[in-house]
Symmetry: C2
Subunit: 458 residues, 2 copies
């Protein structure tokens, strides 16, 4: 009799104990697991995570505002040469895209840093035209940008003015307007040394043919008596397309220079010293890879030039989107949290790609690459090999005058030399696109070189 | 003996039961309470909710990227005339700001719809320059914009092209470039009927004095033999500053018109019929109140004009920030979710403000307001009183030639008539700013009218 009670009692106690343990587990789950209740942001967070969770086989991604085919769930948007509902199917004979400078090579970095780079925006966030200080420029973001430059040591920002624009695109033309004096009887001559960035020619030609006249290669204007009263030289350094650290060609009281430093980051070049020119242009696109955010800035010495650029931005677009400024703020904050990791990731990626390219083309007599000398990098405190954003490919054969056509025939799209003011025996190949794009480019190049008559063998 | 076992047994059972109940409660809390675990978005969500929870007494707000004074928590950014760490202190003799058209009157709507309007963005979201279809224009957003126009019935968008820009500011000048023919020997004459929107004069004058020549009031160019070969007329309807539904003044084969319909929403005007002009410009700023997002669009009939505007956007800023496009997408989606609520809220707010203004100024002999006739509104299916965005105030006294100075003396900032191409006996007062700004404006106006010699009494 007592024995039965004993058993029952033991069983009961066992249940009780396990039940209490379960309770404790729940308590831990709720309070230690950081699962405090979220209110207004929860629905959006779940929605965003659901879309981010759509699997695209690592060859694409689904976006919150991405294409919706049927139903209301966005579909996978696949990389070039991949297709299918989950981007798992490779398109065998597709064309390798090495055309535009879409900086997708940094996408994996952000996919590895989800929590620090996520952004939550309230519906009522920053509705006003201006910030609280009546400007179109976020002071907190400006602080962060100065901090990034200080850490990398690629530009002097102390006692400098900073203006924001919709990518370096809008900043560059704003700078040209600001440097071209008002009421000029004759247009300012705009030049850039060959090979130059395509926009340096297209923008002045399009916007104001009375204010600007594009005068081509800067070298042809050295020590010329018929040089225009006022000249503006665009200096892209490292240069787009060839990655060289460029210096201004023209000098003197009538020459103003705009230094485009979009690529002056450890990703692409050694940093010999902090840049300290009168007007320097940078862009988020080539720093974090967010080209779509359209955010760029200029670091300026002269207050009058700064004020003119501010006025230009106001008349052109009433400043820069606050959404773009907030996103940039969050991304730079996240990048700084990880110390130098973003630079290490970007440099390693670009270095590896460059080495693979050199290896392949070293076997070729038909194609050659630009030579860039190693230099001491103050960021890494060592002499560094180059890791340029673009390959500046030359077709060496007499008959290959149209180098782009040669590549086209091999199923590769590049950008022909004439777009950079030089001969079409040159082609720019973008090395900063997605890993898929780069891999397919290398596949095509390997094939092309392998089929080359008299190609060297390893 | 047995009795003791019984008691113990009962106690144990009691504990067991309550413990099990507790378990069930936890299970319910976790799985019914919608508290599924969030992963990468959680930290950002908590951060955003923490900042949003900072109390600013309803006279200000703290922003995620807002000013940080010390520590790392953003501080309250107060409305005009309020100060203190929580914006609770009123500044007695402060100046009423009725100057700019900052559409903060819609902020309360978004504060009431937090969950539907919140946005969560992944760090890797839309990094590319272009969308998957190689354009700079989000197709899903374009669909949504067409849907909004269809629901409101304020514009025909079927078989029309749509281009995006950084606010109507960038869209308007892009339109002017697109409509000014290339290789014109003489500049295109740009006109607008007085009173006109300030930018219609400033933009053509600034950007390209060879392409455009601002020729002032459109009326002075009717049936004139010396009219330029090509003319562009800006038609802002409802008009900024006076809220009238404007029609084009100039007609004929050499005249192109740009219809600025920024204010053609039920908020501000009856909608007699869907607008169906060749080139119509709209902006998010005056639809949802998000001026800071810098998002505008044009609805275009002619494909050549559309292509020219696309090219302009590319050369000017490589399209519109994808962050701005994503935010617009989320906001319009949220607005549509609530049916016509945003329009009802906006209309009621503007109507109430206009009525309060009329009531005050009806007692005045010194000041008069624009008269706007009621019209049938196809959106509300009834004849509607006006609810304009701006008061177009006139100082009636001979000695009050500088009406802005009169208001300044009464501690009110408006925008003087000359900014709109007319006499300074007119002043524009913005009615779309925050409720605080409007209340203080009314306070100052009441005082001004009350002190008026020979003011009428109720």
């Amino acid at each position: 009799m007592i024995g039965i009670f004993k058993k029952e009692k033991e069983m009961n106690s066992a249940c009780l104990v396990s039940s209490i343990i379960l309770n404790l587990l729940f308590i831990i789950n709720i309070y230690m697991g950081g699962q405090r209740k979220l209110s207004w942001s929860r629905r959006a967070a779940e929605e965003a995570e659901a879309v981010a969770a759509i699997s695209c086989s690592g060859h694409g991604r689904a976006y919150l505002d991405g294409l919706v085919v049927d139903g209301n769930k966005p579909v996978c948007e696949c990389n070039t040469c991949f297709t299918g509902p989950d981007c798992s199917q490779f398109i065998p004979d597709c064309t390798a895209n090495a055309e535009s400078g879409d900086p997708l090579f940094l996408e994996p970095f952000w996919m590895q840093h989800l929590a620090s780079s996520a952004l939550v925006v309230a519906g009522w966030h920053q509705m006003s035209y201006s910030y609280n200080d009546k400007t179109f420029i976020s002071k907190e973001l400006e602080k962060l940008i100065r901090k990034v430059h200080a850490i990398v040591g690629n530009a002097v920002t102390e006692d400098r003015f900073i203006v924001f624009g919709a990518g370096s695109t809008q900043v560059l033309i704003a700078a040209a307007y600001a440097l071209s004096l008002e009421n000029t009887s004759s247009p300012v001559g705009v030049v850039a040394s060959v090979p130059y960035y395509t926009l340096d020619k297209l923008q002045p030609e399009y916007f104001n043919s009375e204010k600007f006249k594009f005068e081509g290669d800067a070298y042809t204007w050295r020590n010329r008596s018929d040089a225009r009263a006022n000249m503006i030289e665009f200096v892209t350094s490292p240069n787009n397309p060839d990655g060289q650290l460029k210096k201004a060609v023209l000098h003197g009281p009538n020459v103003k220079t705009i230094h485009d430093h979009a690529y002056y980051w450890p990703h692409f070049t050694p940093i010999p010293a902090p840049a300290d020119e009168d007007l320097m242009v940078f862009t988020l696109s080539k720093l974090t890879g967010h080209a779509g955010s359209r955010f760029g800035w200029a670091v300026i010495k002269d207050e009058t030039v700064f004020n003119r650029m501010i006025a230009h931005m106001e008349l052109n677009s009433m400043g820069v989107s606050k959404d773009s400024q907030l996103r940039t703020f969050k991304l730079l904050k996240a990048a700084l949290e990880e110390g130098t990791e973003i630079f290490d990731f970007a440099y390693q990626t670009m270095k590896t790609r460059w080495e693979r390219l050199i290896e392949t083309l070293s076997l070729s007599n038909r194609f050659s690459l630009q030579k860039i000398d190693p230099q001491y990098c103050t960021f890494y405190n060592k002499v560094r090999e180059p890791s340029p954003a673009y390959a500046w490919l030359k077709c060496e054969r007499e008959e290959d005058k149209d180098c782009n056509a040669v590549l086209m025939a091999a199923n590769i799209i590049g950008r022909q030399g004439s777009r950079f003011g030089t001969e079409d025996c040159y082609v720019r190949l973008s090395l900063i696109r997605s890993q898929d794009d780069f891999n397919i480019l290398m596949e095509r190049l390997n094939k092309l070189v392998a089929e080359e008559d008299g190609a060297k063998t390893m």
